[in-house]
């Protein structure tokens, strides 16, 4: 089942990106891809938030949660390879 290192890493990276995108889109508050992109664009360029709710849900709820999931998963797996 061993596949080459490069395809494996490319595939895994795509998986992580896809999972992150899916996670940001999922939740009780409806957030579309366009709204996410717009909010990120506004935050990056320093403009004031157009819609507070979107910004709160995205930056205070979903983004920390997804970032934490990435961090926790990576750390636990790294620790697991040592043992």
């Amino acid at each position: 089942m061993r596949i080459g290192a490069r395809p494996a890493f490319v595939g895994l990276s795509l998986l992580v990106v896809a999972a992150t995108a899916l996670a940001l889109l999922t939740g009780p508050f409806p957030l579309g891809a366009g709204e996410i992109a717009a909010a990120v664009g506004r935050a990056v360029t320093g403009q004031p938030a157009a819609d507070d709710t979107i910004d709160t849900v995205l930056f205070s709820v979903r983004l920390p949660r997804v970032a934490a999931a990435l961090l926790v998963g990576a750390a636990l797996s790294a620790a697991g390879t040592v043992y």
């Binding site: 990276s13 999931a69 750390a75 697991g80």
Partner: protein, 244 residues
Amino acid sequence: MSPDILGVSTGAGLGAALGIFLSLPVVAIQGFAFAGGLATVALVYAVAGAVRGHEPTLVLVLAGVVLGALAGACISLLKVLADPYDQLPAITFWLLGSLAGVQPGDIRSTAPLVLIGLLPLVLLRWRMNLMTLGDEEAASLGTDPRRLRLLFVAAATLMTASVVAISGVIGWVGLVMPHIARLLVGPNFDRLLPAAMLMGAGYMVIVDTLARSIAGTETPLSILTAFLGAPVFLWLLACGRRGW
């Protein structure tokens, strides 16, 4: 292998249970959990170091099992003593793991610790390969197995304790992801570490997304990781005879 083999997750659970029992603020509970995880592994190492004349890895694992069981018993005691209306559910859910209450500050405090723990693993990745040959072989090739083992365990424990402090106890990730990664990219630690980390990160994101969409309320993460991880591990055991 599961990072909890030396009791870091159980020790962190004990720290958190104590923090919840004492009605401490969230930050203190996280700190207690972090300290509990580190203290348990330090104790395991101290106990294993006091035992002479046996295979060091075996002694370490046995000490970890025993002290982990002791920590588990202390957690059970705290559960009995805790207030059944709000402390006991809090302890139970902490032990099942959740990312529901994660704050941006949690990421800021945990990420540097994980990176610090990652640093020795990345810098010494070739020596990690040597360690799999066994202590005598590794020593004959110029490494110091005892010191390396201590360093690797310390690094892994730091990483595990710091994330368990913010997420609670999440099992079946450190156990299953490295094996699947090994099937994909082979046992060379140079590739295994990043592959396992990528896989674990993606897996955790998927599981967390499931946790908050599958049912009306938040499903604790350990429940999902166990239901997903246990069958995969059984499958790995069953057809793993071709070699890890």
